[in-house]
Symmetry: C2
Subunit: 148 residues, 2 copies
């Protein structure tokens, strides 16, 4: 998936726009960057909800791109999320998703073929100044035959 | 804590403003409401990051208010979060926090007195149209002697 296609998708999410979130890398390694200024809390560091939103979207974008690359039009929905905020964020930040293990992806594709529905856990992280500031695991549900 | 004081605190968080998030109930039961329009995803339902941000802030606001009521000026930071998205949100939504058990609050206050630092888990939920759409547990760290 191209950066342009991904940024066009992000443009349809008003909160992503309010955050200034934009894709800087797409494909096998997904990276969504945001400036600090629109994402501060009352202490001037990054608001946890902004970091979490960036991570949700990094995982979603990775999976959406993977499905498109495999010729599938499917709906991707976040179902569960676990996050650990490991360091305060005092600057611009980037959410990364490195994707899933091949066996997990094979399992997902089998479930989609058999049942039209599957599930995938994706680990994401948020970094600022080369430091990991949030660790995130999102569990996404994929529904075939639904609007993208 | 008054609604005005809480809304003044939310006004210092740009993303909360972009969400249209505002307190409709403060004190022992905390409720933060938001309209759907600025919080949609590309499918027109509520973006998971918006729901999560509202829940983080409902718990944070509850704990901040509790500490202020007890005469404490302390910093409240989200450290861990678990969320389950149980239903799509097709309308305006409200994040609730009902607070913590008395024994957990007593433990927190003892830790703050002894160590100047404590921890509290708070359950929050997001409802839309009287349906629970997200369940959330946030683990917050409280630091005495730090800027609020």
């Amino acid at each position: 998936m191209s950066l342009d296609a991904l940024n066009a998708a992000l443009a349809e999410i008003p909160l992503a726009q309010a955050m200034g979130l934009h894709a800087i890398q797409a494909g096998a390694a997904m990276a969504l960057a945001a400036p600090l200024a629109p994402n501060t809390n009352h202490k001037g560091t990054a608001f946890g909800g902004s970091l979490h939103s960036a991570a949700i979207l990094a995982g979603w974008a990775w999976l959406w791109g993977y499905l498109r690359q495999n010729g599938l039009q499917a709906q991707v929905v976040i179902q569960k999320a676990q996050a650990e905020f490991t360091a305060p964020v005092a600057g611009d930040f980037t959410a990364f998703c490195d994707g899933a293990a091949p066996e997990d992806l094979e399992h997902l594709m089998r479930m989609l073929t058999r049942k039209g529905r599957g599930r995938l856990a994706l680990a994401c992280r948020v970094e600022s100044g080369n430091q990991v500031c949030m660790k995130f695991v999102g569990e996404y549900v994929v529904l075939m035959g639904a609007a993208v």
